[in-house]
């Protein structure tokens, strides 16, 4: 977690489906970013170590910390454009495929 971010979240890919999943307060995985546990710099590495156990358990692939900022107290903003797209899905402009191109 970089010094520019106020928080971090843990993102991975689900082994069976490949879909993006987020590590939750309950030490589980959710496909909704709303469920992602917001981590401070104090707790980030410790929680990542716990999340990584599920990689060993063949549930997820490559869990990693992603910088996030919380704006106006509630809105989660990821720091890097790559991670923003990972979370929100392809940014492809209105077209015959846009509706089917969004992340599940």
């Amino acid at each position: 977690m970089s010094s520019k971010a106020t928080h971090a979240i843990i993102i991975a890919n689900d082994l069976r489906t490949g879909r993006i999943v987020y590590f939750t307060n309950a030490s589980d995985w959710s496909e909704s970013v709303q469920d992602a546990e917001l981590l401070s710099s104090d707790s980030a590495q410790e929680r990542l170590a716990i999340a990584a156990i599920d990689e060993t358990n063949n549930l997820v692939i490559d869990p990693n910390l992603v910088d996030a900022n919380v704006n106006a107290g509630t809105e989660l903003q990821l720091a890097e454009i790559r991670e923003q797209i990972r979370v929100s899905g392809p940014t492809i402009l209105g077209s015959n495929h846009a509706a089917t191109s969004q992340a599940a």
């Binding site: 082994l15 490949g18 063949n58 454009i81 492809i92 402009l93 015959n96 089917t100």
Partner: protein
Amino acid sequence: MYRYDELDQSLVEQRSAEFRSQVERRLAGKISEAEFKPLRLMNGLYLQLHAYMLRVAIPYGVLSSKQMTKLADIADKYDKGYGHFTTRQNIQYNWPKLIETPDILDELASVQMHAIQTSGNCIRNVTTDPFAGVAADEEVDPRPLCELLRQWSTLHPEFAYLPRKFKFAVTGSAVDRAAIKVHDIGLRLKSGPNNTVLTDIWVGGGQGRTPKIAQFFKSALPIRDLLPYLEAIMRVYNRYGRRDNKYKARIKILLAETGLETLQQQVETEYESIDRTAFEFIESEYARIVGSLIQPEYLATPETSTSDASTQSSPDFKAWRQQNVKPHKQPGYSIAVVSLKPAGGIPGDATSDQMRAIADIAKQYSCSELRVTHRQNLILPNVLESDLFKVWESLVKIDLAEANIDLPSDIIACPGLDYCALATARSIPIAQSVSKKIRATEKKTDLKGVSVNISGCINACAHHHVANIGVLGLNKGGVENYQLTLGGRNDQNASIGQRIGPGVAADDVPQAIERIVNFYVDVRKSDESLSDTFDRVGKEPFKEAVYG
């Protein structure tokens, strides 16, 4: 089309069963991700930003209607109802699940398709002229050699773990539509005496972060000697190619570091040492493959007129015919190029409905055959001229009748940061914005052959280095930034484009390209291409036009 035999069918079925077992062991935790990754990559399965991505091989870009229909069905059943055609004449699915991938491979095997060697450090899908076998200007049909190369390279035990991936391209025409000089090995087939086929060989071309034009390596090699000679090149590369740095592992780097003459000597020495008895079958096998190509039964005296009233009164049809229809070797027939680049669309994408419809069009009007081009379009290779209007009408109904082949809106774009784990910037939305803006300009301007290619990172999957107008997306301090290159070519006079100035913001790319095109139109001489104009006037005037 080539008629596959029982051996091919058995091979793809066995490979599918093998992968099913590997997936089961992975899900059961019997093999780790580190152990599984190279196995899934050998079957074309990547893990990208949002999901797995499956790359399916389309050998030398040739497809039957039945196969295209199967690809559409897979898109519906296992993905999100569309597929993405690539610059290696393959198709990619962006959303398959690991648990369903073995079923997808089974379905592919049912139509003799597979995903073998669409990834990994092996010999990848061989590409060729999309007009192979039907081009009016063709000297030698490259498809039999492509099939021979497919058989030779498929699961070749010696070349499964090369220093890096390895790409072949083949052409049989003087006009190179297969970009052979930007491949690891490029082959140009020529007619020899007494109905023989000779091959000129180029080695060491490639793009990526170190773009190189291939060097002329061997002249007029008879086809019977080609496989042992290629085997010798591959062995030398396998032995001496660098494995310490993946960015320096391609044969283009080996050639640059070793020198042309030394590398040629090494190959000749290896070639002389090869046991030729193992290759004795080549000429007869080549002849068998030629015989196995299902040749359309062309009408001897086809009707050539399309003179009904509706044809004459349709300017849209005339535009499509002028831009998308190419000359065929057989009198009375044409090659129809189907643009997958509607203005504002996603380059190379087709919905399952479009895939099914075009499979039906091919069945009715093109001897059930289709091609995929390295410019991410589709081809109906055998259309009677008298059927062109009906084909166009059918394409209009599925929104695939854009008359823009070889125009700036016929953009090659990689998946970019919207899908690709390696990308540094988006390319598809940029392509959409560019094509929307430039389509209006090109409709009112007499443009000929201007290519725009947009890559989302330095790996150059969209071939931006050899585009007349190249766009490279980078990440500059957390913000997408796009470098512009001009003057590239991917034909028989292949050259690498030159960067014309500082990168521009994403929103400014369409305007920059429009300014380049407008400046070119203003200063060109008669039939001069954009790259010829760039060579003549130099970088500075174009730079001034873009940056003011």
